[in-house]
Amino acid sequence: MGVLIFAEATKGNYKKNALEAVYYGSKIANQIGGETVVFTIGDGANAGQFGSYGADKIWFNSNENSSDTQVVSSLIAQAAEKAGATYVVLANTAMGKAIAGRLAIKLDASLVSGVNALPSGNTIQKQVFSGKANATFELKGDKHVITVMGNTLQPEATGNDGIPEEISLSAPEPRIKVLDTKTVEGTVPLPEAELVVSAGRGMKGPENWGIIDELAELIGATTACSRPVADTGWRPHHEHVGQTGIAIRPNLYFAIGISGAIQHLAGVNNSKVIVVINKDPEAPFFKAADYGVLGDLFDVVPKLIESFKKFKAS
């Protein structure tokens, strides 16, 4: 009995979602009284830190083909067998989700992706209807694969680093060839961002985004936008949040010049704190907001930037 967590490495480093998955997995291990085993692909150089997030054992296996879901799921399945895992936990990333379904079939396990709470007995909760509701899933059988949403638990480092240990596994031939990887440097990807500054059609045009970028940069936030803004090419598609874009739940979401249509709210209404800046008192977004500012964004945002500058200097 135990919990195996797959920690996804990006060029040998780990993002917050990996720490969260490990921490979350260790909490399940505490519940069921089992061991917490972390498995990662690569040289394990930065994997020692998982010890302080609850890992009893840290295993690594070198393999070049970490983008091939057939290879990765095969390695994880072998590690899970070796660990005698009851639960296999992954972060709810694009890759995590692509692997989880394969793993569930390989291990003959149940699967729930995108959970937002710890299991309770044999039930577990996840967000459904793009954030408009939660559903409690009953897990059958004796093995379970779950992917955990970002910001579900705040990982806390306690105790000491662990010592990563190499394990040998057999890998199938890869059938996918990676030609190139392009990453947006410098900013935290939206699904992981704790602070998000989002803007909509109220911005009038892409040339006005300077104040949004400035505000975001000042507070270390990631930028997002409403769907029509991405559709008209004012902003890149990867910034589109909502029911048909990315669903996020940051600690703080600024909605600037966004009306708050139901499809937009679906992707953002689980944010902890929502600030709405809009000049229309009837804008539906105010109903979903914690703080509202009724005013012209071209006035309000520069003032807000000044206030944040003062705050940072104090």
């Binding site: 569930a104 699967l111 793009s130 392009k182 704190v273 600030v275 309000v300 807000l304």
Partner: protein, 246 residues
Amino acid sequence: MNILVCISKTPETTAKISFSSDNSTFNTDGVQYIMNPYDEWYALVRAIELKEKHGGKVIAINVGTADNDIIIRKALAIGADEAVRINGEASSSYFVAKQIAEYAKSNAIDITFLGKETINYNGSEVGAMVSELLDQPYISYASSMEFDGTSATINRDIEGGVEVIQVSKPFVISAAKGLAEQRIPNMKGIMMAKRKPLNVVEPVACDDKVTISEYSLPPGKTEVKMIDPDNMDELVRLLHEESKVI
């Protein structure tokens, strides 16, 4: 070339989300259904474009009961050549994946398309399961795809960027925004759809590994606190001291 496109039915995006009095089932009263947007806008259209260029046929597949036929007909109206409905309640992603994989195995499918997720269960589970059951490569979150008849070069969205990969058929691909441009069915398409085959096949036996026992709505928001637009210092103070997010 045989291209399979998995289409799913979801409540329309403005549908009121409510549950039975014991919270055990989704309340379907008055709910309108649509084809899942990722399936319709991107997966189906890209599949049709491939057929237009390379020949072959596009088969739309849905796992569900007879009330889904209207959505399946829409896929035919947009341009799928034929459709199949696996006649069973789509009770879990495993059940659905199993049915689709069974069909794909016995129909020599070259490429299986799906949407990246459904907008009701947001699982992104079926594609990965289908590909494992078929022992095929799986490329999820594809935002562009070039295909030369045998091998494909695909841009796949990853956290904070894209990965460009190459893969040869057969494979399973899930569609994200950008993969194609939405097509609106025209009158001719709608008329033709009525004559295209919609085959109904009985499901293979398969036990669910999860069931939903309860639904709940997220806690409601407290009343919004309005801040004077000339006093942004106050907003910053509240974010720092009251809600402690800054």
